[in-house]
Amino acid sequence: MAKQYGRSAKSSAYQWFIHRITGTFLVFLLITHFWVQHYDRTTASISHSVITASEAKEGVLPQYSERANEAVEARRGSWLESQEAGAAPGVQIVPTDESDALAGHEGGATPYDILMLRLADPVYAVLWKAFNILFLVFALHHGFYGLNNIITDYVRNDMARVGAVALSWTVAFGLLVIGVYSVTVAGLNL
């Protein structure tokens, strides 16, 4: 089928075909991304706290479940033990001055602690980073190709259309660089 559509590059039939493929894959990638990263089953690390602007200014942070707090504390304890034993840890919850101060909020884990807890999983740290980069590539291609369809349909001025298309792909490329870098270095304490 790809060959059939690939013949007509001028009519963007190949891009049209790819758009459907990336869209279909995105549905499955999105479900997996959501399930793994926003509904962590092992530590119930999703917070439904509501924080108003004034509370945020006072440094109020989301509250996590007791199970999530315990998991963070256990991880921090094992890190300290490994430090005392002289081991060189991989991705860990690092009790820097900054996170120590924040970890004290109402005695609970901070969002960053929860994030590091997820990244402490060696499978997660490698496999899911690759997964997220793939997800990012698909999402950016699908999203910005769709945006370009709209630009092409509604921007009548040739100069403005070419400019808008060039700008949108530049933004997409910038986001790809930011996203790949952020996902790659997350948890590496660079």
Binding site: M1, R20, G23, T24, L26, V27, L30, S47, H48, S49, V50, I51, T52, A53, A56, V60, L61, P62, T96, E98, S99, L102, T110, P111, Y112, L115, L136, A139, L140, G143, F144, G146, L147, I150, R156, V171, L175, I178, G179, S182, V183, V185, A186, L190
Partner: protein, 137 residues
């Protein structure tokens, strides 16, 4: 008469600033697909831009605290709606394009609409419940 014809053809050739659509089920689905797509691109930009905070504990905590603001809870609810609609209508388009389901496209729209409504209600409940609990307490 000739002048009138010329004026008419010139008027017809001149592009209109906005295109008028006949809004039937398929067109409505298409328009909403584009609108939700635009919203999702906007969200993607914000989401990826926010990822920069991942390398700094304080910045990340501040960002996540902001994401728990009431307006973001409402946004979460709307985002879920946009994602569900765009994904299911996208699948409908794929079925029409690749499987030849075009004659059933209206039926397909309403069937997937019912599925979307269930997913939206179940998935959106935590966001709305959190808001109600916060302001009702």
């Amino acid at each position: 008469m000739a002048v009138d014809t010329l004026a008419r053809s010139q008027a017809a050739a001149k592009p209109k600033p906005f295109t008028r659509y006949k809004v039937r089920t398929g067109m409505f689905a298409w328009m909403l697909h584009r609108l939700t797509g635009l919203a999702l691109v906007g969200y993607l930009v914000v989401h990826v831009w926010g990822l920069r905070a991942i390398t700094n504990a304080e910045a990340y905590n501040t960002l996540i605290a902001k994401y728990h603001a009431p307006i973001f809870k409402v946004g979460e609810f709307l985002l879920l709606g946009a994602v569900i609609y765009h994904a299911l209508n996208g699948l409908r388009i794929v079925l029409i394009d690749f499987m030849g389901w075009s004659p059933n496209q209206t039926k397909l729209f309403w069937t997937l609409g019912a599925v979307a409504a269930v997913l939206f209600t179940v998935g959106g409940y935590p966001s709305i419940a959190a808001l109600v609990a916060h302001f009702g307490a």
